[in-house]
Symmetry: C2
Subunit: 200 residues, 2 copies
DNA sequence: TGATTGCCGAGACTGTTAGTCTTGTCAACG
DNA sequence: CGTTGACAAGACTAACAGTCTCGGCAATCA
């Protein structure tokens, strides 16, 4: 130890080769493409690295796990408007919110990518955590939409807002993952109507 | 080829050692125990065989895949009454059905086993198929309950019964898998009331 | 009783994948 | 030009599903 030793944590001028932003983007692009093309088979890190023309170590230099890469790839694309609609009419707002949610997941590129992501999350607790954080913003937006409706007297004061939120996202994920029934504008319309009427 | 050759497919008297029923049961018991104890880590065939005191080949002699073993282990326990309640009052029937469904999944032994099973199904298409068949009987029972209600005039003729079914099972699986909100009698009550009122 | 048949436990083996480690190269900076 | 650290390539380890092989043993039949 002498006076020229760097302080631990002190800002030391960067030396050496800089990180390659192009490689970063190439990895995300490759991950998204592979997620979208995934036909039920899991997306492998080897495939991502090879598609991006990058060494595996470079992937792990930027992200801690495969799940983190996949989620990052998808969130980059789903750079969504978090604010819910606010027209003054609860039923219309709810209908618009649900329709938007349903519609976003039907975009062909996102759909299979999102399904693949859920499959990965099922056995990667770290990714499951990241996804919960990610989806929490949408849940919150929906809940605030409902609170506004309740304050306007369009929902009874004792309505179970959490149950309504779970009905929306429960139906959404259930149909999205099983694919046995449509997630179209008509379904959104009926669901919104049923929820508003059911809470009275 | 001569006259003493066995006919293909002809019933030939069984020879050789018989299958060991005790091993069969030991495997199911081991699978169920490991599923229940699974703390998020996947249940392996090696572990099942070792716990059951059995060779891996014996497992594969009785079941075609790991998923089949797991599902069989759980279905053996969930030997359910498929018939839905039929009191003449839709709201009461629906409430009872939902409460029963919620309650069955809260049994501590089944709960983590079922969660582990869903995780396995996420990456084993064969198991996912088996599970859909398995859950279809419950969905059908619920739908028939709703049809009876509609025939009694307790639901409008144009009510979207499939949407109601999906609202029940959507909320159920969503809360069951995420564990962020309760699946208790009160939730069942509110959900049933909301669905009947919402369909009017 | 002894031969045949087919299940049994044990565990070696193959193929796949996540994540780590190694090697030689190359770019940034002093 | 020397030091540093990112880079591509790919070897390596550890799990795991599913297959294969082996010697042993139980049920049946001649």
């Amino acid at each position: 130890m002498n006076a020229t030793d760097p302080q631990p944590g002190a800002a030391r001028p960067h030396t050496g080769r800089r990180r390659n932003e192009a490689a970063h983007r190439a990895i995300l692009d490759a991950a998204l493409r592979l997620l979208a093309e995934s036909d039920g088979t899991p997306v492998t890190i080897d495939a991502i690295a090879r598609t991006a023309g990058v060494g595996k170590q470079t992937v792990y230099r930027w992200w801690p796990s495969k799940g983190a890469v996949l989620l990052d790839a998808l969130s980059a694309r789903a750079d969504q408007d978090v604010a819910g609609p606010d027209s003054g009419d609860l039923r219309a707002d709810l209908r618009a919110f649900v329709a938007t949610t349903f519609d976003a997941a039907q975009q062909d590129t996102s759909a299979s990518a999102l399904r693949a992501l859920v499959r990965e999350a099922a056995r990667d607790p770290h990714l499951a955590d990241l996804m919960q954080t990610f989806t929490a913003t949408r849940r919150t937006a929906l809940r605030e939409l409902l609170v506004r409706g309740r304050e306007r007297g369009q929902l009874p004061g004792d309505a179970d807002l959490d149950l309504i939120v779970d009905q929306v996202y429960g139906v959404f994920w259930y149909r999205f993952l099983l694919g046995h029934a449509p997630l179209d504008a008509d379904a959104a319309d009926r669901l919104a109507a049923s929820l508003v009427a059911g809470a009275q």
